[in-house]
């Protein structure tokens, strides 16, 4: 077990190093060069040379990568020249709001997917099963921006009961102070994530239902609702841990779309703004942040799986 944890963490570190290399390479593949992107298209040759010298851009690529890693370890993600703030500062302000949006949506999606999946498995090919399968297929097959736009059309325009835009407050508490603006973004993200989870949830519940411990529980005369709650639901939760960890890249993608759609102030929206202003340091910082979150997510998922399921033995 300890060997597994150590090996798994070692793997994660290697992947993270590769990720930094990828981001570093992208930074150097940018059109023109970094100096031009920062001091502008009208910079003269000597100005660019001076900038390169000042920022170590005339040194060898290997030196620059080592320098970049060193900066990263010290928490320096670069400097955003359009926002005139360090990338770290930009992200520090955005991340809590994202955690609120993504965290709430994932939690809600799990809360919906588990009971629905269990009832689908219990009454397979019944009315509930067909209805839930159809809904999740529909949600899955719809581009997420279209889903959000339809929700806006219905709830913000047709019936005008919810605002079409997320609250614009700076802090997390400010967001919570206007819960009505929070409903549509969370609903869109929840439905998209639910569509991802529901299909796995159903089959994992069906798998669990065929296990011996369910038969044992029934054979010893346990009431059906206790069989489902104590044995089926608990055991179906184990793959959910992995599923959440592995679906993080997709969740972030949906999150990006939702933020753009509802003007939700977060990392994703910042990414769009930075893209229109060709603010590469911020974009690369965010790419790195999301990558780190993904790697950490899958690492935690694997560890949680090992901890939750005593049958898992790693050799």
């Amino acid at each position: 077990m300890i060997g597994f944890i150590v090996r798994r963490i070692g793997q994660a570190i290697i992947v993270l190093l590769g990720l930094t290399l990828l981001v570093f390479v992208m930074e150097h593949l940018l059109p023109g060069n970094i100096a031009r992107a920062i001091i502008g298209p009208r910079a003269t040759g000597p100005e660019i040379a001076a900038f390169n010298r000042a920022n170590d851009l005339d040194r060898s690529v290997l030196y620059q990568y080592a320098h970049y890693l060193n900066q990263l370890i010290h928490g320096n993600l670069g400097f955003s020249y359009t926002l005139n703030r360090s990338v770290w500062n930009v992200l520090k302000a955005e991340v809590p709001r994202d955690l609120l949006l993504v965290g709430t949506s994932i939690a809600l999606a799990v809360l919906i997917a588990v009971p629905v999946g269990v009832s689908q498995a219990v009454k397979r090919n019944g009315l509930v099963d067909y209805a839930a399968t159809s809904v999740s297929f529909l949600l899955y097959s719809m581009p997420s921006f279209a889903l959000g736009l339809i929700l806006i059309q219905v709830f913000a325009i047709q019936f005008a009961i919810l605002p079409p835009e997320a609250p614009q407050s700076a802090g997390v508490l400010g967001l919570l102070a206007h819960p009505s603006g929070f409903v549509l973004p969370v609903a869109t993200l929840t439905l998209s994530v639910y569509a991802l989870f529901s299909r796995y949830m159903r089959s994992s519940a069906i798998d669990a239902l065929a296990q011996d411990y369910i038969r044992t529980a029934r054979a010893k005369g346990l009431p059906e609702h206790l069989v489902l709650w104590r044995h089926l639901v608990r055991n179906s939760l184990v793959p959910i841990a992995t599923l959440v960890g592995l679906s993080l890249p997709a969740v972030f993608t949906f999150g990006l779309v939702v933020e753009q759609l509802f003007n939700f102030p977060g990392v994703g929206l910042q990414y769009f703004t930075s893209a229109t202003q060709t603010d590469y340091p911020t974009m690369l910082g965010i790419t790195l942040l999301v990558g780190v979150a993904t790697v950490a997510g899958s690492l935690l998922a694997d560890l949680a799986y090992a901890a939750l399921d005593p049958r898992v033995r790693f050799s």
Binding site: M26, P143, L149
Partner: protein, 302 residues
Amino acid sequence: MQVAPPTDPAVLPEGGEVISQGSVGKQIYRTFLENKLAILGLGFVIVITLFSFVGPLVYHTDQISTNLLNTNLAPGPGGPLGSDQNGYDILGRLMAGGQVSLEISFAVALVATTVGSLYGAIAGFFGGWLDTIMMRVVDIGLSVPLIFLFILMSTIFRPSKLLLIGLLAGLAWLGPARLIRGETLSLRTREYVQAVRAMGGGPRRIVVRHIIPNAIGTIVVNATFQVADAILILALLEYLGFSLPAPTATWGGMLSGGTTFLQDGYWWQVYPVLILIILAVVSFNFIGDALRDSLDVRLHKR
């Protein structure tokens, strides 16, 4: 070495053995006969392909020059599905957009599945440090959410059909690579692989002639889902502004263009194309699910 006694074929399937169900082609054929949803899916894919590629031959529309006198027309005698903000006939544009969207999606699925399968089979077959390095590369690729990369690319490149295919396939091959590598790990220990080895067959022969054909079920299923995913990601890219230059029509472009008029009630610019996208994605998923049920040997054993 002992010569194994001849065994009764009926006793053979046990452990990880494949139960012979006829050729892959026959299995696929049987799947479609048995599974109603798969027939529905296949039928719709055929209809949609005919609609996009043969439709324009029957229903002639101008999808190149804009007509500013006929913008945002409601469905009526002029056009069965009205016109969009540039005066393009929507029905004709659905066909033209279908061509581009299907072409790109099929190409992405083909390239990604081929490259991914070969990559995964090579990594899984050779194992050792080569496998470790190759799979860490896949891990790194999977840890970057692709949309972030696309937006970054969109600030650098001008989109073209080839570039879109390259970018989408460049990220989509990671999934099949991991899948086929797992499959190869079990395939390479099979007797027939060892027999080829014993007869002096090189790694190239083993991978191309034995491992890939035996993993073909997984590969075909994955390719089907790849098409569905590509249609969705393509639509998303169009919405995010990474779109092919005008006047090229795509479903994603039509949908994102139409949604700007949702408030004006121009439903014909949104819902026909949205329904088409949903039906196409659902169809490919139905086909993929059915194929997986019939080709997945692990399911047969249950």
